[in-house]
């Protein structure tokens, strides 16, 4: 095990700059991490601003799924297993009746492109969950969604970050799955989420989580690069590639430009 690698049994400690593997880097005590009930509750509490938007978003998915001819059980199963709202809605756009193998392949591919940002999100969760054994970390990652990831990133300095992550994810799942049902049953409950500004819930929440992370203009250069590259890719390429392209560009700038750190 080299000093630079991240042993699964190690504890990662965040100092003022960057991540340090606890046992390797110094004199921090190496307590094995533990999930505390209080941290789960805290995670659920912190995701509270996202709950009303999530309910209506899930209802919108239920409505569209009903129009596309899915049974209630199929729509609910999709919410429970896929648990990624934007990709579920986009999948409904390419859904066809009857489903051919080609359509299934398209649906799977479209889901992958919409959800590609999850790869980056789970990469940034490595330091938070690294101290946990794989049999705990990998199932916990099932519950990665935008909301609990963002909250976790904001509080990643705390030892409770892993509990906050899982608590927030479970809370979102518990709300998301049953909220699919009223939209399905009532049909035209929410035909156009845009009317209620619901497509803005996630961007608003993103910004609300980003503002407290402001550390001056120099630290925000990667953010600006990410925004510009995302805009360009969105204009030139289209589709959903802009998120991953912009995020990678910003991350590279953060890694390479800040050599003095």
């Amino acid at each position: 095990m080299t000093a630079g690698s991240m042993p699964d049994g190690g504890v990662l400690v965040r100092r003022r700059r960057g991540w340090h593997a606890g046992p390797m880097s110094a004199h921090e005590p190496t307590k094995p991490p533990r999930l505390r009930w209080d941290d789960l509750i805290e995670g659920a509490r912190l995701s509270w601003p996202m709950i009303p938007g999530t309910v209506v978003f899930a209802a919108a998915f239920g409505t569209v799924a009903a129009q596309k001819g899915l049974t209630l059980w199929e729509a609910t199963l999709m919410s429970a297993l896929v648990f990624a709202g934007a990709s579920q809605l986009v999948a409904m756009e390419v859904w066809s009746n009857p489903l051919t193998l080609g359509a299934i392949a398209t649906i799977t591919l479209v889901t992958a492109t919409v959800n590609m940002r999850l790869v980056l999100m789970s990469a940034s969760l490595r330091p938070v969950l690294a101290g946990f054994p794989a049999w705990q970390a990998y199932p916990a990652l099932l519950f990665t969604v935008d909301a609990n990831w963002l909250i976790t990133m904001r509080y990643r300095d705390r030892p409770s970050a892993a509990g906050i992550f899982l608590g927030g994810g479970l809370a979102m799942w518990i709300v998301w799955v049953p909220a699919t049902i009223p939209g399905y049953l009532l049909g035209a409950l929410v035909t156009d989420p845009r009317v209620f500004g619901l497509d803005f819930v996630l961007p608003a929440f993103f910004v609300a989580m980003l503002v407290p992370q402001w550390r001056g203009f120099r630290r925000a250069i990667p953010w600006a690069v990410a925004a510009v590259v995302a805009l360009l890719v969105e204009r030139l390429v289209g589709g959903w590639w802009f998120i991953i392209a912009g995020a990678l560009a910003g991350s590279f700038v953060g890694g390479f430009a800040d050599e003095r750190a």
Binding site: G4, M6, R17, G18, W19, A21, P49, E74, M78, L81, V82, F83, A91, W95, L99, A103, I107, T108, A112, R117, L118, V119, S122, A123, S124, L125, R126, L129, A130, Y138, L141, T144, M153, V195, G197, D199, F200, L202, P203, A204, F205, F206, V207, A208, V211, Q213, P222, W223, V225, A227, A230, L231, I243, G246, A247, L248, G250, S251, F256, A261
Partner: protein, 103 residues
């Protein structure tokens, strides 16, 4: 009739589930195999803000004035009151209002 109908639907749902879960664990798995040099640490550090900006900036620009107003409301309320719930709701409400007003 449920036989030939249910099977492809389930297959599609399972396909979506599989690719989504692969992405949920893929980055985590990969970072466990990459040596955590200071540079990689800085890249991981910059990642959350970069994901956020890359996601919202194109969406906001595409949605024009209502989204711009909503964003300003979110930032202003956060700066003044530090209340996330209030900020998100004011932003979303303002977007809905601006759209109802025909912007």
């Amino acid at each position: 009739m449920s036989g030939p109908e249910v099977y492809p639907v389930l297959l599609a749902i399972l396909g979506m589930t599989a690719v989504t879960y692969l992405m949920r664990v893929g980055g985590f798995w990969l970072m466990g195999r990459v040596p955590l040099t200071p540079r990689i640490r800085r890249m991981l550090d910059a990642l959350p803000g970069a994901v956020v900006c890359a996601t919202i900036v194109p969406l906001v620009i595409k949605n024009g004035l209502p989204a711009g107003l909503g964003l300003i409301a979110v930032v202003a309320i956060l700066a003044l009151r530090g209340h996330e719930f209030l900020a998100v709701f004011a932003g979303v409400g303002l977007v809905a209002l601006a759209r109802a007003g025909g912007f």
